[in-house]
């Protein structure tokens, strides 16, 4: 349709244009079904796969958190559904009319503001808080069996990378070549959508991803990536979709091993598991976002013992204990090595930050800890 017209003179790779056409087709099919219901005087409905623990399973074989086949039928003429139904259609209309047809991308917040208004003749807003439109977006993604990037929606970008690699990136029709070894102290900011990024010259043996910005800065200053021939990345806390997708591509397209570095506490470990297996909230995207070959380098409770960091540990809080107990029950933490780690944590009730290594000396992490761990392949699965 409209998207097809724009193809002429569009320099986007053929693949991306095909994706857009496919997404458009899916939206048209959904709209046609709704129109038919209207004409027949039937209740309008959209089938939405159920997200959340009741419909999420861990596939042992593929090592992925997967979405089950349960779905909820959302109706317009149902008091409990009507508002969310309307919001889902607002998303559909925005994606089709504003984004796909104009070949633009937008943030979740853009969509929120674009579609938020007072319903004429009432005192009610179409959307009160962004959380509502965010949920409607995920509903729409899973209903179409697609993902956010295909809807031209992006999350806030987060994460930085540096190392011996050249990539090309694209802003609409403009193609830029970026040398990741020349990005200064901050590194290259990973975009929220990385589908268009192409990997060129590369001279790295593995990827080291740190949860914390501070660790990236420390290792960048120590020229760790140059000395160790690796790509250095930070996710800045819980990994954004762009960062997770980039890791997945580095792993599957370049076959690079990925080592992960987080604090020695349940929250750090969960960040790792999200990058590796996917998350419950985005179980429908585990395929695209999960780097199942990723390994956990540290820190573990065993590291605290091994590197004699006992004196710089922090007492675990009740929330940490509770989280650990929950995680102990997750199928993707069932590996014996992880169960042992979690048990140790529950037993000792201590946690440690990566920065605790600085108690030895500032460069201990880059000169001793990391090389030792990598050399001895002392990882957790």
């Amino acid at each position: 349709m409209a998207a097809a017209k724009k193809e002429k003179g569009d320099a986007a790779p053929k693949q991306i244009r095909e994706y857009d056409a496919e997404t458009m087709q899916k939206i048209q099919t959904l709209a046609a079904a709704l129109l038919e219901e209207i004409n027949k005087g039937e209740n309008l409905h959209i089938d939405i796969p159920v997200r959340g623990s009741s419909n999420v399973t861990f596939n042992e074989k593929t090592k992925k958190i997967e979405l089950g086949d349960k779905f909820a039928r959302r109706y317009l003429f149902n008091v409990a559904h009507a508002r969310r139904f309307m919001q889902t259609l607002l998303v559909a209309s925005y994606v089709k009319k504003d984004l796909l047809e104009n070949n633009l991308t937008a943030t979740l917040r853009d969509l929120y503001y674009a579609k938020k208004h007072t319903i004429p003749g009432t005192k009610e807003d179409t959307i009160d808080e962004q959380k509502e439109s965010d949920l409607a977006i995920v509903d729409f993604e899973v209903a179409l069996d697609t993902f956010r990037e295909r809807l031209h929606l992006r999350a806030e970008p987060k994460g930085r990378i540096a190392g011996q690699m050249v990539v090309t990136d694209r802003v609409k029709d403009k193609v830029d070549t970026i040398d990741l070894s020349k990005m200064g102290s901050g590194g290259w900011a990973v975009p929220s959508i990385v589908e268009q990024v192409e990997f060129k010259d590369i001279d790295a043996e593995y990827v080291l991803v740190a949860e914390k910005n501070a660790i990236f800065d420390r290792l960048n200053e120590d020229a760790y990536w140059a000395k160790q021939k690796c790509l250095l990345m930070t996710t800045g806390g819980q990994a954004a979709r762009g960062a997770r997708r980039l890791l997945k591509r580095l792993s599957s397209e370049l076959n690079l091993p990925i080592y992960c570095l987080t604090d020695a506490d349940p929250y750090g470990w969960y960040i790792y598991s999200t990058m590796k297996y996917g998350s419950m909230a985005l179980a429908h995207e585990s395929d695209r976002l999960g780097s199942k070959e990723m390994k956990f380098l540290g820190m573990s409770i065993s590291d605290i013992e091994h590197y004699d960091l006992r004196s710089v540990t922090i007492k675990a809080k009740d929330v940490d204990i509770k989280r650990a107990e929950e995680m102990k029950a997750y199928d993707w933490f069932k590996a014996p090595a992880w169960q042992r780690e979690i048990d140790k944590f529950l037993d000792k009730k201590i946690k440690a930050e990566i920065q605790s290594l600085s108690s030895k000396n500032l460069q201990y992490i880059s000169t001793t800890y990391l090389p030792e761990k990598i050399k001895s392949q002392d990882f957790l699965p």
């Binding site: 909820a72 008091v79 009507a82 607002l90 009432t122 979709r241 909230a281």
Partner: protein, 565 residues
């Protein structure tokens, strides 16, 4: 109300611990006794006293109309006089009082004929109105003015007082003149009384009287000159109550003492067989046997019967098996009449009337219960009204009647109240009915109303009676529940429709964005579907079937929402 008979109460109250000192019995003038003990007749409290006065006059009016087979028109006027007195005028269109009986009817406490009129009674032309004469006299010193005519163009006009010492009427200024009038007009002044519209006041009393007597038209002129008309709802005059002899199960010791005083029989034994129904000479022997030692001499004259003996005889009545009284002496208001009346006075949105079949209590006394629940309209008592007189805030009310006579006081111990408390109203969607626009009507019908307390404004809480009232209320409740449920459904559907309509515009716009279909056309179609989905479904099955669509709400996301910013 308070149609206590003087002879019965006076000795009972004056008797120290009931030790049989019957010689006290006649030393009081009845008038003198009640002058001192007016609360026994309902003259306690300023509001209640006025209600009692109006009650006495109005019941007399109703009886006088009934006697003549006349549709009663009763006018009541209350006026606050400048000197603080309250003037009460009651005028009816009844049969009137023959000249020679005016004194006895209005100026002598206890005319002495009541036990020859043992019927389902509402009041006697006896102590009630006469006591009002006395009350007027002792609180204001003024005579009561009476005007009456039998409809023979001869009108009598006089002023009455009572000689307290002798309990004899004193008539002054008797005038006879011709004119067109039939009925009785009484005008009297009182002090120590107050008019208001509270649930214990005259207004409420008359309203309830009108509800229980749909054949009556009552006009009330209030002290502020406001005229309130409770219009006649039915032209059907109730059947005349049949006179029957008392049944042994239905009388009290004081009743027996009164009968003994008035009996024409020469022996106690013949009084029992002659003045009661169902007592044969065989039964007298049985009574004698049950009473045991010391033997009561049944051959003595009835007027020599002692209080103690009367007590023992009455006690023996309850231990003997009796043939039940005839049930055809029960005069019900009737389902249709109650319906007309409630419609007339309360204009309810919904009502249900139930007239139960006669049952018996105390092992043989027949009674019947008529009950109704009215919802909405002018049902319930109005706590406040707007400028147009429409209810703004209403409360539920329990309208209690014994043989059509409203009972305004002593509700707490009444069988009707107890029965209403015993109903699980939540089953009928009437939980908290006390705060809803609801009138619950209960009429207890029996020749022998088992009053509890001296005021005769409360029915004794006997199990059979409570159970029967409860059953009647539940029967009414079931019907009202259906209506209320339908109302709830309608409200809910209305609510659902408003939600659906709210989003239709947005949804139509989105579908227009997606498909290019005309938005106005989409809105029309969506609205039509929404209307259909929120129709008030009468068939329960349909409703439930649609309800299924409401299940399967979408589960909320859980886990780390932290990933998305």
């Amino acid at each position: 109300m308070a149609e206590k008979d003087a002879k019965a109460v006076a000795p009972a109250a004056s008797q120290p611990a009931g030790d049989g000192q019957t010689h006290d019995y006649k030393e009081y003038s009845v008038a003198e006794f009640f002058k001192k003990n007016r609360q026994m007749l309902g003259y306690s409290g300023k509001v209640r006293s006025l209600t009692t006065i109006v009650h006495e006059y109005v019941t007399n009016s109703l009886d006088a109309a009934e006697e003549g087979g006349i549709l009663p028109d009763i006018n009541v006027e209350i006026d606050n006089l400048p000197d603080g007195h309250v003037k009460v005028v009651v005028e009816d269109n009844g049969i009137g009082i023959p000249k020679q009986f005016i004194g006895n009817a209005l100026g002598k406490l206890l005319s002495g004929t009541k036990f020859h009129h043992r019927k389902q009674k509402r009041g006697q032309q006896g102590i009630g109105a006469a006591y009002a004469t006395l009350f007027s006299q002792i609180t204001t010193g003024k005579p009561t003015k009476a005007k009456t005519s039998l409809g023979d163009y001869k009108i009598y006009d006089c002023e009455l007082t009572i000689d307290v010492k002798t309990n004899e009427p004193v008539i002054k200024n008797m005038r006879e003149y011709s004119g067109k009038f039939r009925g009785l007009r009484i005008e009297a002044e009182f002090s120590e009384v107050t008019y208001n519209r509270s649930e214990y006041g005259v207004y409420e009393y008359l309203r309830r009287t009108a509800i229980a007597n749909p054949h009556v038209q009552i006009t009330l002129i209030e002290p502020n000159k406001e005229i309130v008309v409770f219009p006649r709802a039915s032209k059907e005059i109730p059947a005349k109550t049949k006179e029957t002899l008392p049944h042994p199960l239905g009388i009290s010791t004081s009743d027996l003492m009164d009968i003994a005083q008035l009996s024409k029989a020469r022996k106690i034994s013949s009084m029992l067989t002659a003045d009661f129904t169902r007592i044969s000479s065989e039964k007298v022997k049985e009574i004698d046997a049950v009473c045991g030692e010391p033997k009561i001499d049944f051959d003595r004259a009835p007027k020599n019967l002692t209080w103690i003996e009367a007590e023992r005889i009455v006690k023996s009545f309850s231990q003997i098996k009796w043939i039940a009284p005839e049930t055809d002496s029960l005069i019900m208001i009737g389902e249709q009449q109650i319906e007309m009346s409630l419609k007339n006075i309360l204009q309810p949105e919904q009502m249900k009337v139930v007239c139960r079949k006669p049952k018996v209590f105390r092992g043989g006394i027949p009674f019947a219960v008529e009950a109704a629940i009215a919802y909405g309209g002018k049902s319930g008592s109005w706590v406040s009204t707007d400028d147009n007189g429409n209810p703004v805030e209403t409360k539920g009310e329990l309208l209690r009647f014994a043989n059509r006579v409203p009972m305004l006081f002593d509700a707490g111990t009444c069988a009707t109240t107890l029965a209403a408390k015993d109903v699980d109203w939540s089953r009928y969607n009437l939980k908290g009915w006390e705060n809803l626009p609801v009138s619950i009507f209960i009429n207890f019908v029996s020749v022998y109303v088992p009053y509890s307390g001296a005021g005769k404004l409360s029915i004794s809480g006997e199990e059979e009676i409570i159970e029967e009232i409860r059953a009647a209320l539940m029967e009414c409740g079931r019907d009202i529940a259906k209506y209320l449920n339908a109302l709830d459904r309608a409200k809910e559907q209305e609510h659902r429709r408003s939600i659906f309509f709210r989003y239709i515009g947005e949804v139509a716009e989105c579908i227009n964005d997606l498909t290019g279909t005309d938005k106005a056309l989409l809105i029309t179609k969506l609205k039509k579907t929404a209307e259909e989905k929120t129709k008030i479904l009468l068939a329960q099955g349909e409703e439930e079937a649609e309800g299924l669509e409401e299940v399967g709400a979408v589960e909320e996301d859980e886990g780390n929402g932290k990933a998305e910013e």
